[in-house]
Symmetry: C2
Subunit: 102 residues, 2 copies
Amino acid sequence: MILNPPYYAVIFTSTRTDEDNGYGFMGQKMEDLAREQEGFLGVESAREEIGITVSYWKNLEAIANWKQQAYHVFAQQKGRKDWYSSYRVRICLVERAYEFEK
Amino acid sequence: MILNPPYYAVIFTSTRTDEDNGYGFMGQKMEDLAREQEGFLGVESAREEIGITVSYWKNLEAIANWKQQAYHVFAQQKGRKDWYSSYRVRICLVERAYEFEK
């Protein structure tokens, strides 16, 4: 996973509905598709009460292109209609980063 | 939870050891303490395979002060010694944000 700045992070936080209807399949599909995008650097996810997905991108252009990718547009529509009761998207410039490893 | 930029996000991603030894208690304690800090704006967390905690802050000074807070310094040391096999910290300027709500 990328560490050293500068690059961009998209923080996607969400609350789910009870509706499944292909959610798991689509999540995997979107992750696979994102990995193929120009400028994609990595993605990390976890869900408990809320879901948090952080994806990392080379620049704003890569983020804009991903937002407009046709299958992803379809997934966003399904998300608003079926899967999410709410979500927030924050687009962030990563300025500093460090890590600890045992 | 704060939405409109500009402000800062600290993305903390981690993998845990098997060691408990007060981890849950300390997590709650740190969240309570963070809420009392000048410039604290909010926090969101989820853990599955990895843990992701995103905290939001007014500016870099607030983040630096929190990093140096005495009890938090102790928690960081315990974290490296006992609780985490690895972690990453990314300090980010939130440039744009939007939300969806049903």
